[in-house]
């Protein structure tokens, strides 16, 4: 039985079951950790013969579906902080818009590939290492659910800084009171990095929410998915409009798997402790970082590549 399917924009043929499996894997990550999975999906699609530009754009389209499923599931469970998510989303859109000229400048100087690769390794390495260290420490100390520091500790410089900012708002879902500027500015920061790295920013957004906004992990996952849903929808439309690189058939087949994967991920998420979730995510992030570092340091098998890849 021929299960190969032709992808019109990618102009290649791929086994449909393989795509369904990839969709399920990425959906599982989304539901479990609140990451879009773009940092993993794009390289995996490239490995099965999808051109890099089509892989990135179509991956964003697939992530829209996974995030929609995840957002609905988390919203039903009351674990989406819409107020926080909207503020971060506005910041992310501003940051993404600021990041595009930076990428354009780097491309003009010929350094874009290099900067993107190094940014990936540094960000994945630092975020993954810190999450891993912190999760292990919490597991040993028996700290449950949040990362709130004991009250008798002297507030850090960061805590004092955000405490001094105006326009304080209550975020009941996240059980924090912050200046509205904080999620907005952090959204801008993640947006800039997302534009440079070409991903939805979930693996950056999750640690930002956990460590800098001090949100409970289970609310972080749902809120992150809500925010990535809009970021990736924007990326999909822009890529389809300007670069014509979205392969709808590719995304559609992966959707079959991703819906199921996301739902399973959400259910597992509700059964795991916050520290367990963080340690799993940190291990995946570190594994991707190790693979990227290996690719950067080991001589490639073929010394030529088609334009569009890193």
């Amino acid at each position: 039985m021929n299960l190969d399917i032709y992808l019109p924009v990618a102009a290649n043929s791929v086994n449909a079951l393989l795509l369904v499996g990839l969709g399920a894997l990425i959906g599982l990550l989304s539901g479990l950790f609140g990451v879009g999975g773009g940092f993993l999906l794009t390289p995996l699609l490239m490995m099965i013969g999808i051109p890099p530009t089509v892989a990135a754009a179509s991956g964003a389209n697939e992530i829209v579906a996974a995030c929609a499923t995840g957002t609905v599931s988390h919203a039903r469970g009351g674990t989406v902080d819409f107020k926080m998510g909207i503020l971060m989303l506005i910041g992310g859109l501003v940051g993404g818009t600021l990041g595009v000229p930076i990428v354009h400048y780097l491309s003009a100087t010929g350094d874009a590939d290099f900067v993107i690769a190094i940014t990936y390794v540094v960000m994945l390495g630092s975020v993954g290492s810190y999450m891993f260290y912190d999760s292990v420490r919490d597991l040993r100390g028996g700290v449950v659910e949040t990362l709130s520091r004991p009250a008798h500790h002297r507030p850090s410089i960061y805590a004092r800084l955000i405490g001094s900012l105006p326009w304080k708002v209550d975020f009941p879902k996240s059980k924090v009171r912050l200046s509205a500027l904080v999620p907005f500015l952090l959204g801008v920061l993640v947006g800039v990095l997302s534009a440079i790295m070409g991903v939805g920013g979930g693996f950056l957004m999750v640690p930002v929410m956990v460590y800098l906004l001090r949100m409970p992990m289970h609310v972080v996952v749902g809120t992150s998915l809500f925010q990535i849903l809009f970021t990736c929808a924007n990326v999909t439309v822009m890529q389809a409009w300007i670069n014509h690189t979205v392969d709808f058939i590719l995304a559609l087949i992966m959707l079959v798997g991703s819906g199921v994967g996301t739902e399973i991920g959400v259910r597992i998420n509700r059964r795991l402790r916050a520290e367990q979730l963080k340690i799993l995510l940190s291990l995946i992030v570190l594994a991707v970082m190790a693979k990227m570092t290996f690719d950067l340091l080991v001589p490639p098998h073929i010394m030529l590549s088609y334009p569009g890849g890193h």
Binding site: N2, D4, I5, Y6, P8, V9, A11, N12, S13, G49, N61, V64, A65, C67, A68, T69, G70, T71, V72, S73, R76, D113, F114, A117, I118, L229, A233, T236, V237, M238, Q239, A240, W241, I242, H244, V246, D247, F248, I249, A251, L252, L255, G259, V260, T262, E263, D295, L296, L297, P299, P300, H301, I302, M303, L304, S305, Y306, P307, G309, H310
Partner: protein
């Protein structure tokens, strides 16, 4: 009498067009089936059967190529002596998008390298045209170009895949097969059949194969290329609906 001439000419053209790809510019004939390939939703490449009638005894080489095009690729290099990255563009002058070769025995048993190179049989012949007039493509990078193309099955070379059997009037029939890869772009392809004796070769005949998109694939490609904004919005809408539906199904 001459008033029916245009109609007759049209009829001849239509009749010729309806025949399988069949041609004979040399001392034999070449037939390829199918001569027209449609890319449908389940397309994963297409096997092409080639039959050629040639004088006997001859050694046979079959070649399937596309039109030559300029090609720009990224060259890998070390940055700061440590990190492997894309380090600039390499321009090849005229590269066939697809180059498939079949021969009845290994090429070194068929003719001298210079003869094969002149007839563009084997990668040495392709190398000359790829590098001609290119300032930034050193010859050693051609081997990398071949590896890149081979990875997608766009360049392929197999010896011994042609069956030869006796035919009428002291002639022979050679039967070979090509697999047009899924990554081959739409367009026209040419199948050339060469016959060799005593190290000398001649072009026996040429046949054409047309690869085109089927209706469904064509509709999606056209929408993506010409109505990108609408296509992108539809893609997002379907993704959101699919995602929400899944959530609702599991939520029950």
């Amino acid at each position: 009498m001459f008033r029916h001439l245009p109609s007759a000419a049209l009829l001849v053209v239509l009749l010729l067009g309806s025949l399988p790809a069949l041609a004979g510019s040399g001392s034999g004939s070449v037939r390829v089936e199918p001569s027209e390939v449609q890319i449908g939703v389940c397309y994963s490449g297409q096997r092409l059967s080639v039959r050629a009638t040639t004088p006997s005894p001859r050694k046979i080489v079959m070649r399937l190529t596309s039109a030559d095009e300029p090609l720009t690729l990224k060259k890998k290099g070390k940055k700061y002596g440590l990190i492997w990255r894309n380090m600039g563009d390499v321009h090849f002058t005229a590269v066939p998008t697809v180059y498939l070769l079949r021969s009845s025995c290994s090429l070194d048993q068929i003719a001298a390298p210079e003869t094969l190179e002149r007839m563009k049989l084997g990668y040495d012949g392709v190398r000359r045209q790829c590098l001609r007039g290119s300032d930034d493509a050193p010859p050693e990078l051609f081997a990398e170009l071949v590896k890149l193309k081979q990875k997608d099955h766009l360049f392929d070379w197999q010896a011994g895949g042609i069956q030869i059997q006796p035919a009428d009037a002291g002639r022979q029939e050679a039967v070979g097969e090509f697999l047009l890869p899924a990554k081959a772009p739409v367009g026209d392809y040419t199948v050339d059949v060469f016959a060799f004796q005593g190290g000398k070769g001649e072009l026996i005949g040429t046949a054409n194969v047309r690869l085109r998109r089927g209706a469904a694939v064509s509709a999606i490609t056209d929408l993506a290329a010409n109505h990108g904004l609408l296509y992108g919005c539809l893609a997002v809408a379907v993704a959101v609906l699919a995602g929400l539906s899944t959530g609702l199904v599991f939520g029950r």
